[in-house]
């Protein structure tokens, strides 16, 4: 009387969610502080920390590219997963629709980030 079991593909999204969660816990608050408080208010950091030429140089280096890509993409996948499950919790079980919307946005964001970072060149 064994039911047929379908393997869940959740581990993919769960792994991206976990990686994004870890990364956002490690870097999120610091990034919010730097980009949202320190720079606009002129605290602690030199005024030109986020100047165009500095940021450009940063994302032209492959390490900088990798960092910016990981932060954007994994944060997005983390958020998509969280929002998808929260929708379920508040009673919106749009199923495929909600899934496409949440993970689709993360995918689009990932592709745009990847494309732009490559287009900037090395």
């Amino acid at each position: 009387m064994k039911r047929p079991l379908k393997r869940s593909n959740a581990p993919i999204f769960w792994a991206l969610f976990g990686a994004g969660g870890m990364l956002s816990a490690l870097f999120g608050p610091m990034l919010v502080f730097i980009t949202g408080l320190a720079i606009p208010l002129g605290l602690l950091l030199p005024a030109d920390t986020l100047s165009y030429s500095r940021v450009l140089a940063f994302v032209q280096h492959w390490i900088g590219k990798g960092f910016v890509f990981a932060v954007i993409a994994l944060f997005l996948w983390h958020a998509a997963h969280r929002i998808f499950h929260s929708l379920h919790d508040i009673g919106i079980h749009a199923g495929v629709g909600a899934k496409l919307l949440c993970y689709g946005l993360a995918l689009v964001g990932t592709v745009i980030a990847g494309y732009t970072l490559l287009a900037i060149g090395f």
């Binding site: 064994k2 039911r3 079991l5 379908k6 393997r7 869940s8 959740a10 581990p11 993919i12 769960w14 792994a15 499950h85 379920h88 919790d89 079980h93």
Partner: protein, 251 residues
């Protein structure tokens, strides 16, 4: 002069499917003493006020797991919840949440029993063994790996606490996962791969969103949430590593 006897109001969710369209509540006035459990309260109702009230109980000492009820909205064993903690306010007693009501406080357990069967809750030896080979030996460390998960009394409080089980009754849920884990980490057992199919499936651990309320209400400190979370990691490893395994791994 003797003191005026005290009473407490118990509000009970009633439902007799043969005559009630929907469940409704009924309030009973029950003599109160401060050593009375909620179970004793409903037993008083059945014995002296309304013999048609139905509920399950057996041991009266938090061992059998049959007296689970929602008490003021919290999944609880009624035999270890005391009326004095509510007195003089009214206490609300309902059937466990997320389960079909069979009659009054009695829930239908078929769904859970099926899950229990599906996890194969018994030791499946790695290789056949005869009594002549003697007993299995286990170290204290090997015992410690599963001991906590073997204390489950199938009271189902954790299912009543789990919002994800409430939304998707197909989810194998906290207690069944804890018990599955109990056998999977037992050094005598050899059926991990079979049981992992269930963990990995769409009914499996990824239904859990790490709410953790199951472990909070568990009267036996089984910590089912811990078993579920350990198996998310196991399942994710299984998902990705099967591509690397030479045997091709599971489907």
């Amino acid at each position: 002069m003797a003191e005026q006897p005290k009473t407490i109001e118990i509000e009970v969710l009633r439902y007799h499917p043969e005559k009630d369209k929907t469940p409704h509540t009924q309030v009973f006035e029950v003599p109160f003493t401060d050593d009375m459990s909620v179970l004793q309260g409903v037993q008083y109702i059945k014995d002296y006020l309304d013999g048609s009230l139905s509920f399950r109980w057996s041991c009266r000492m938090a061992i059998c797991g049959s007296c689970g009820m929602m008490i003021n909205g919290i999944p609880s064993l009624s035999c270890q919840t005391f009326l004095r903690d509510y007195y003089p306010a009214r206490v609300r007693v309902e059937a466990l949440a997320h389960f079909p009501i069979e009659r009054d406080l009695v829930i239908g357990m078929e769904g859970f029993i099926e899950k229990l069967e599906s996890i194969q809750p018994y030791i499946i030896p790695k290789e056949p063994r005869t009594p002549a080979q003697g007993e299995y030996l286990q170290t204290p460390e090997q015992l410690a790996k599963y001991e906590q998960f073997s204390s489950c009394i199938n009271c189902l409080l954790c299912y009543a606490a789990c919002p994800q089980f409430g939304l998707n009754p197909g989810f194998i849920g906290p207690a069944a996962t804890a018990l599955l884990h109990r056998y999977n980490v037992d050094s005598r057992d050899g059926a991990q791969a079979e049981r992992m199919e269930l963990i990995n499936s769409e009914e499996g651990v990824f239904n859990c969103t790490a709410v953790g309320y199951c472990s909070e209400v568990c009267p036996k400190h089984v910590d089912p949430a811990n078993a579920v979370n350990q198996n998310k990691t196991n399942s994710a490893a299984d998902y990705f590593l099967r591509f690397l395994s030479p045997k091709g791994g599971a489907k």
